[in-house]
């Protein structure tokens, strides 16, 4: 199966931060051609780099391309009872797929790897994102409710909200989000990413209404693309507003309005 190997190798070796890295010994998987031959188990020391849901391994730390890649989807990571100490295995739900037995240098290293690998899947990340998306929506709703209700009961929560100076940058120009290129307008840029050579500046329109929740019946896309199930097309962020720049503007406007209100009340001498 073809893969865009050059791009994959570039992603593996570029200076975008890794989620975890270190030496591990990888068990060599042999085919038993002859029933009577018993091959001793052997291990090869490799440099492993975890980026997202991809576990790359290199012959040497300085190698310019990986020798292998494990896609961490549909797998479990468990401690294993090998004769080696500090061994753990990556096993796949697909019974036909080979398992990877890896050996760490010590207890702490083993635990750190198992923890990092167990949470590496795209599916896991997507679950957490969806949960946070829900929480944010609820937080916005209760904030909006606070604005309508009598001031006395809501003043403490609003103050906590408004006194945070970090809210100010929301009003700055948001960046256009593109796959792997984005930086946040409000100081959230992830260093080490490739800079976007050119961006379209088309995000000056006023923000639309708050995003509707994705309906339970279908995916975010309208009519499904032939040959694909909606599950395959589910986006990690189920927003009607198609870009974060719009979402950013929306929150920015709400915050700006609240600030104005607060500042006016300050002038009038309210606490």
């Amino acid at each position: 199966m073809k893969l865009n190997e050059r791009s994959v190798a570039h992603y593996a070796t570029c200076d975008s931060p890794a989620d975890h890295a270190g030496f591990l010994r990888k068990r060599v998987e042999r085919h038993h051609h002859h029933a009577h031959h018993h091959h001793a188990t052997s291990y090869q020391r490799r440099w492993f780099v975890l980026k997202g849901n991809l576990l790359f391994y290199f012959e040497e730390r300085e190698s310019r391309e990986p020798v292998g890649l494990v896609v961490l989807e549909g797998c479990t990571v468990e401690l294993c009872e090998a004769t080696e100490e500090f061994a753990f295995a990556i096993r796949f739900d697909d019974a036909g797929a080979r398992a990877y037995v890896l050996v760490a240098d010590g207890q702490a290293a083993m635990e750190a790897w198992v923890k990092a690998l167990s949470r590496a899947s795209f599916d896991y990340m997507r679950l957490v994102v969806r949960e946070l998306e829900k929480q944010l929506e609820e937080a916005c709703k209760s904030l909006a409710a606070c604005r309508k209700s009598p001031r006395r009961s809501s003043s403490s929560s609003r103050k906590r909200h408004l006194s945070n100076p970090a809210l100010l940058p929301l009003q700055e120009k948001p960046a256009v989000l593109e796959n792997g290129y984005s930086t946040w307008g409000s100081g959230g840029g992830v260093p080490g990413e490739a800079a976007c050579p050119d961006r379209d500046g088309g995000h000056a329109k006023p923000p639309p209404l708050p995003p509707r929740r994705r309906s339970a019946a279908g995916g975010t896309a309208g009519s499904p693309v032939p040959g694909l199930s909606p599950a395959m097309l589910e986006s990690p962020v189920s927003l009607e507003t198609a870009s974060f720049s719009k979402l950013h503007s929306w929150y920015g406007q709400e915050v700006a309005a609240l600030r104005r209100e607060w500042q006016e009340r300050q002038k009038r001498g309210h606490p």
């Binding site: 073809k2 050059r6 795209f122 990340m125 945070n164 796959n179 992830v190 260093p191």
Partner: protein, 119 residues
């Protein structure tokens, strides 16, 4: 350039493509550090950071289908999701004063931190 009809499947951050009558994919594109661009009508392309002039072009049946794919592909990378998570986490923290990741016991994980991440 010759266009060949393919079945295309987006699964997590990989775009698989198949000959229409085969069960095994011919190939896949890892969708990290890539750019999705609208080309002419019904057409979009995928290109990668280290080789921006090399474009993988896809022609759709309609403009609507083309837009759906562009939107889906722009959000398909793990890095995009990571940013979404960090964004939401930050927003929730600002609004409520609480770190929403604490309840999952993952607030200290490198992958969820805003700003510089340690290797």
């Amino acid at each position: 350039a010759v266009l060949k009809k393919r079945l295309v499947k987006l699964v997590v951050n990989f775009l698989f493509y198949f000959r229409t009558d085969e069960a095994e994919p011919i190939g896949a594109l890892l969708l990290e550090h890539c750019r999705i661009t609208k080309e002419e009508e019904n057409v979009f392309s995928i290109s990668f950071v280290e080789e921006p002039e090399r474009k993988y072009c896809f022609e759709c049946d309609s403009e609507e289908q083309c837009q759906e794919w562009i939107e889906a592909l722009k959000r398909a990378s793990y890095e995009f999701m990571r940013r979404s998570l960090i964004f939401y986490r930050n927003e929730i923290q600002k609004m409520t004063g609480k770190d929403p990741l604490e309840q999952y016991g993952i607030s200290e994980e490198a992958r969820f931190q805003l700003g510089t991440r340690k290797q």
